[in-house]
């Protein structure tokens, strides 16, 4: 694998014997020991992920808020400094340029965390939209490494290596604090369905913090985790993956992400289309299903609902915690009922499944 970008943790990860793959041009660990063991470690204890490939875009200026209010469907004005929000960059057709996390660092300073494969596209899009506004847009991806510490014991482990009052950080809030001597943003967010933290820090300090966290969690059985477990964890929690479940062909309402659409804030990109979908109803909707027959649904396999091909599986896998084969895909809105039978075409055979309530997995509060 030559010509691939490497995160600051590449050496540390190699030393742990990770299996490396090309992920959107980055050399990333898919697994260290076993996807299933890493998945279960996060559900029961804690796991540590290198997600430094994610992109970061900083937006500053007196009209930074106005810019984000225009580009995203959620109400950015409701964020106080120290709060984060799951949202999207939308096209004029109300479809996804990307899904993003928005951090309000200061009243006029925001940080967007974006998908690695979309960083360049998102940056151009936001910058072009800012052209006539008093807002500066910078791709600051190289200024940040990012770790995700996830699992029920994540807070206890993190508390040992920082002076910050970890327990006081509420969900979708963050603080700026020192972690193992590095200045970092500690954000109570994640992509696994568990409690946990995303830690943004200077690339030069990433390896130290990575090692310190693994050492601090040793007694609890913390596991270094790869992208394999990240994908199965997020699927069980029904967190969408850009490029699979959401893209420039679907809207937040079709993807079941209506919670991020705040009509009350006023007009924004695609708001007229979303309002019409909201009033008339969507024609297709992202459904979650369980396989009842033998076989694993995979991305791209044809999906049949009420005997008719309704598109394809957007995400599908064996779910290690639930020990079931599960998946997501789009179905005609009229058929998207819990209990509705479906079929997935697996190697020319139609294998039965059933639409179920999502998230497939929900942690106990």
């Amino acid at each position: 694998m030559t010509g691939l970008r490497k995160t600051p943790l590449n050496d540390a990860i190699r030393r742990l014997g990770a299996r490396l793959v090309d992920f959107a041009g980055w050399e990333m660990p898919v697994q260290f020991q076993s996807v299933i063991e890493e998945h279960l470690a996060v559900r029961a204890r804690a796991g540590l992920f290198d997600v430094s490939h994610m992109g970061e875009i900083e937006i500053t200026g007196t009209e930074a808020l106005a810019l984000l209010q225009h580009l995203t469907p959620n109400d950015v004005a409701s964020l106080a400094p120290g709060q984060a929000q799951y949202s999207a960059l939308l096209t004029p057709q109300a479809t996804f340029v990307d899904d993003v996390l928005i951090y309000r660092l200061e009243p006029e300073r925001f940080l967007l965390c974006v998908n690695s494969s979309n960083t360049a596209k998102d940056f151009s899009y936001v910058r072009a939209s800012a052209a006539r506004l008093r807002a500066d847009v910078a791709d600051v991806s190289d200024a940040y490494a990012q770790l995700a510490l996830q699992g029920p014991l994540a807070g206890a482990i993190l508390a040992r290596v920082t002076g910050a009052e970890v327990g006081a950080i509420r969900s979708y809030h963050f603080v700026e604090a020192e972690v193992a001597g590095a200045r970092a943003i500690l954000s109570r967010t994640g992509y696994t369905g568990e409690d946990g933290f995303e830690i943004y820090l200077p690339p030069g300090r990433a390896e130290t913090v990575w090692n310190v966290l693994l050492e601090a969690g040793k007694g609890e059985g913390i596991a270094p985790c790869g992208l394999g477990a990240r994908d199965t964890l997020r699927l069980e929690a029904r967190l969408p993956l850009y490029g699979n479940d959401i893209d420039e062909t679907v809207t937040p309402l079709e993807a079941g992400l209506g919670f991020m659409v705040k009509f009350a804030k006023g007009e924004f990109l695609g708001s007229a289309i979303l309002r019409e979908q909201h009033e008339r109803g969507v024609t297709k909707r992202l459904i979650g299903f369980e396989m009842t027959g033998r076989g694993i649904a995979r991305h791209g396999y044809p999906l049949r609902v009420e005997g008719r091909e309704s598109g394809s599986v957007t995400s599908g896998s064996y779910a290690p915690f639930l020990k079931k084969n599960i998946g997501l895909g789009y179905a005609p809105a009229g058929s998207a009922r819990i209990g509705q039978r479906i079929e997935v075409v697996i190697r020319d055979a139609a294998v039965p499944g059933i639409i179920v309530k999502t998230p497939f997995y929900k942690r106990r509060a």
Partner: protein
């Protein structure tokens, strides 16, 4: 690595696609190699042929799925399937745990002995794997 899971037992023959076959009289026992299972990762589903099916050498015999990937398995030799490892239906992870033993896939009545002779020896297979890495 335990003796049982050693990479290249010499009592069987191998394909370049990482299947093995071991002859017991007129029956060939077929599985995938230690190297193949380690490349696949956690095996979560094994799809095998029905008993009685006639397989030609090189024909797709079934599929093995790990959490992340689907892999086709090819018959190393021709023959009729006389037994299928039913234990893999509920315990596909046996393929990871014991690929040369309990993780076998099918047994076939071997039609053509010389076919077996054309497969790789354990030494030749070892070179194949090590050159590929």
């Amino acid at each position: 690595m335990s003796e049982k899971r050693q990479g290249y037992p010499s009592d069987r023959k191998y394909t370049r696609e990482h299947e093995w076959v071991r002859l017991e009289g007129g029956v060939g026992i077929i599985g995938i190699t230690e190297y193949a299972q380690s490349e696949l990762g956690d095996v979560v589903f094994v799809d095998l042929p029905e008993k009685g099916r006639a397989l030609a050498a090189g024909e797709e015999l079934g599929t093995i799925e790990s959490v992340k990937a689907v892999s086709e398995i090819y018959a190393p030799v021709s023959g009729e399937v006389v037994e299928v490892n039913e234990a893999l239906r509920d315990h596909p992870e046996k393929v990871n745990g014991d690929p040369y033993g309990d993780g076998w896939l099918v047994k076939v009545r071997v039609g053509d002995r010389p076919e077996v002779d054309g497969l790789l020896s354990s030494e030749a297979y070892r070179s194949h794997v090590e050159e590929g890495e």
